[in-house]
């Protein structure tokens, strides 16, 4: 019989009914649930702009993007459920604050330029984080990530295109784009988590094949990819320490404010309370739909 340790050593995949250590299962449940919650809460900053999109084209694109985020949340809840948890319990953990979601969604989307910036930077950072997860050791999570990564590429491109239109528009539109970049740049870098020196669970997750690259490695990869893109947009990255390092073949960048990240994760970001209140309200207001569907099913489809 193939043991868990052998599967991990061979870079194989662990499947739902395989024997696995309790800590491996618990770590995955926490990570996949947090990932699912992020997709669901992540609908809010952009969803707020659907009714105010500047054209029918942009509105249709934004609707499709936000619908994708809902879909990503559903793939991930389904993946978490293969580990023996109940979806209702995961949602309850989100609503009561026992489980987290990505800190990035606790920042407000103040202008239309924020929508493009979120697609470009937030989805761009998500791609850098998520591509290695397509090779994660837990089969259902890896398979969900393959689907998600295919769709994220559209998200990033539509954001970049939208922001490009603004940055090459009127001086006011350019200023709006620059303002959005100024506000989202540092929170986007925080999406990669605490520095390696302060990331206590990383080592074990790496040993288990859940994590393939360190937080700082992925953060650097994102900076290196994004700096040239900002130049194409004609926007300035708000970091005075940003400089090309010939020796490393990478961009040096300034200190990320990890104290701010800790504050937001602890629930004291600009929009934490608002995001959860909105989610709880949406859940309550949708309860009658689920009850009606159950009643219809219980009646055997009789009208």
């Amino acid at each position: 019989m193939t043991t868990f340790e052998q599967v991990i050593e061979d870079l194989g995949r662990v499947e739902p009914r395989d024997a696995m250590p309790d800590d491996y299962r618990a770590t995955l449940i926490r990570q996949i649930a947090q990932h699912a919650h992020s997709e669901i809460i992540g609908m809010q900053p952009e969803g707020a702009w659907i009714t105010r999109a500047p054209s029918l084209r942009r509105k249709a694109i934004l609707l499709a993007k936000v619908q994708d985020e809902a879909g990503h949340g559903l793939y991930l809840y389904a993946a978490a459920e293969t580990l023996g948890v109940d979806r209702a319990d995961l949602l309850d953990a989100l609503h009561t604050g026992r489980q987290k979601y990505s800190s990035i969604f606790n920042y407000p989307s103040l202008t239309w330029a924020d929508v493009g910036t979120i697609g470009w930077l937030v989805d761009g950072a998500a791609i850098v984080n998520q591509v290695p997860l397509c090779r994660c050791s837990y089969g259902p999570y890896a398979r969900a990530m393959v689907r998600i990564c295919k769709e994220e590429s559209f998200h990033q491109r539509q954001g970049f295109e939208s922001l490009h239109a603004l940055s090459h528009g009127t001086p006011e539109q350019h200023a709006m784009a620059q303002d959005a970049l100024d506000r989202w740049w540092w929170p986007a870098l925080m999406m990669f988590g605490p520095p390696d020196s302060a990331s206590p669970n990383s080592e074990r997750s790496t040993a288990w094949g859940i994590k393939r690259f360190s937080n700082d490695t992925l953060r650097q990869r994102f900076v290196d990819m994004t700096v040239p893109q900002a130049a194409v947009l004609g926007l300035r990255i708000p970091d005075d320490d940003l400089a090309w390092n010939e020796e490393r073949g990478s961009w040096d960048f300034g200190e990320v404010d990890f104290a701010e990240l800790a504050e937001v994760v602890a629930g004291r970001g600009p929009c934490n309370a608002e995001r959860i209140a909105h989610k709880v309200r949406a859940d309550a207001e949708g309860a009658w739909v689920r009850e009606a569907a159950d009643a219809y099913a219980a009646s055997g489809g009789a009208r």
Partner: protein, 91 residues
């Protein structure tokens, strides 16, 4: 009560339905509509099956070795088991 359904998609005519994931729904018709919205937003399929997860009987990973063992020692079921003289060009 909302139950778990397994979703199978036929990517195009000529291919078999393949498992793509699962979802929750109260009844079969709703499950089918949800499956369309969750798993085929980009024309990934031309046909969908939804099956209540509770209706699937699966082999156990614990018994994997013994369960599939009967095929292990029957190498003569593969064409490569047989030697064909060089004079035979293709077989």
């Amino acid at each position: 009560m909302s139950v778990l359904w397994e979703v199978f998609v036929r990517p195009r005519r000529g291919l078999a339905h393949a498992h793509v994931g699962s979802l929750h729904a109260a009844d079969a018709e709703t499950a089918l509509r949800n499956a369309r919205d969750v798993y085929t937003r980009r024309s990934e399929g031309v046909s969908l099956w939804v099956v209540p997860a509770s209706m699937i009987t699966a082999s156990s990973p614990d018994e994997q070795d013994s369960f599939f063992e009967p095929a292990g020692d029957k190498v003569y079921r593969h064409p490569t088991f047989y030697e064909v003289p060089d004079a035979v060009d293709q077989m």
